[in-house]
Amino acid sequence: MKKELLLILFICFLILFQQSFLPHFAVYGIIPNLILILVFILNILDYKSSIILSFCAGLILDIYSEMPLGTSGLLFLIIALLIKKSLKFFQKLNILYLILIFSFCLVFYNFLLNLIQIKL
């Protein structure tokens, strides 16, 4: 439990860092999504509370965006579940697999987020 709380604090720190420090180093206006990277790492390493932590990370990220609370939370939750499912198909982790899964997560998250933004 203590580890999880520390991880949530770390997620808060990352979100503030992403929203307030990284915009100064944006390339073509694009800022890297550190939270998506963290969610990916937690789930690929099969961390025991990774699904709940992914949801919480999304919730905190929603507070600092214009989206309704729970949007990124739900998307990260789906991503976490998909990564967990995909781990069962691939017994050994290799770099190609990691790149493939991360690219999928990135496209999936941005596509659905943009879709929700348009609908709203």
């Binding site: 307030s20 206006g29 507070i63 965006s65 214009e66 609370l69 987020l113 933004q117």
Partner: protein, 272 residues
């Protein structure tokens, strides 16, 4: 055990619906209040670090840039003298006509504290408590337009940047080589996301070129007249279309990190 989990999920979703429906603004405002010192700290550190990095990377071009700036400075000095003469003349005319046109904007000083990863939004340090309302325009001290207030919380506001995909407004184009020809060419500026803006609906017969300046107009009632948007970066001519398209290099990109101003006494048409 499984039933407990289902109940927990239902409770979480109900809570989210209630927060979204009734307490979203309060929740967000409280979080911004709690974390604004850390955000301001990161913003300042990021600003100084990027300045250092930029100066380091641009060191090679420094001599060339310096020469260009010197030339520009000399040209601007000449222009300044002309403006002084015009201002004096204008002041005299106003006094004679007594039409009270010397009203300046009523401004609220704010500073930006964060930018969102998705969508072109920034968060600024003042909110509804200072009289900020939805739709009010934001400018820099150089009268460069930044965006409009999208949402005013109690102590903070979210600004929709002019480069946001939802942003579109009428503009006037001023020829770089002929600054007096300001009222001839009109177009529509449309945000494209990631700090990019496109210029559309410029008639084919109008002559626009790279480095022409783009200003706001009052036609759509989104911004006051004469705020600087940026300069034309690239013109795209098409034989099949009745209109020309161009890319605008927005000037606010370079001033986003400093002090900004909310124009309090300009209410957009939509909000009236």
């Amino acid at each position: 055990m499984k039933i407990n989990k289902i109940v927990l999920v239902i409770i979480v979703f109900l809570l989210l619906i209630i927060i979204n429906r009734f307490f979203l603004d309060t929740t967000k405002n409280s979080f911004y209040n709690l974390t604004s010192p850390v955000q301001s700290f990161f913003w300042r550190i990021g600003d100084s670090s990027s300045n250092f990095l930029q100066s380091f990377l641009e060191n090679k071009n420094l001599k060339k840039n310096n020469q260009e700036i010197l030339e520009q400075n000399q040209k601007l000095l000449v222009d300044l003298q002309e403006i002084r003469n015009l201002k004096k003349e204008n002041q005299e005319l106003k006094e004679v006509l007594d039409i009270g046109l010397n009203k300046e904007f009523e401004l609220i000083l704010v500073s930006s504290i964060s930018r969102e990863t998705n969508g072109d939004f920034i968060l600024i340090s003042e909110g509804a408590e200072k009289g900020i309302l939805k739709g009010m325009p934001i400018i820099t001290k150089e009268k460069v337009v930044v965006g409009v207030i999208d949402k005013a919380y109690k102590d903070f506001s979210r600004v929709l940047l002019i480069s946001n995909k939802e942003s579109n407004f009428d503009v006037q184009i001023q020829k770089k080589n002929n600054p007096e020809n300001i009222s001839e060419i009109y177009g529509l500026a449309q945000g494209k996301g990631n700090l990019k803006i496109d210029l559309n609906l410029v008639p084919q017969e109008k002559d626009i070129a790279k480095e022409d300046l783009v200003f706001t107009t009052v036609l759509a009632g989104v911004f006051p007249r004469g705020l600087l948007v940026g300069e034309i970066k690239e013109v795209k001519n098409s034989d099949i279309s009745n209109f020309q398209e161009a890319k605008i290099e927005p000037y606010f990109k370079n001033n986003l990190l400093g002090t900004l101003f909310v124009i309090k006494n300009f209410i957009p048409k939509e909000e009236l």
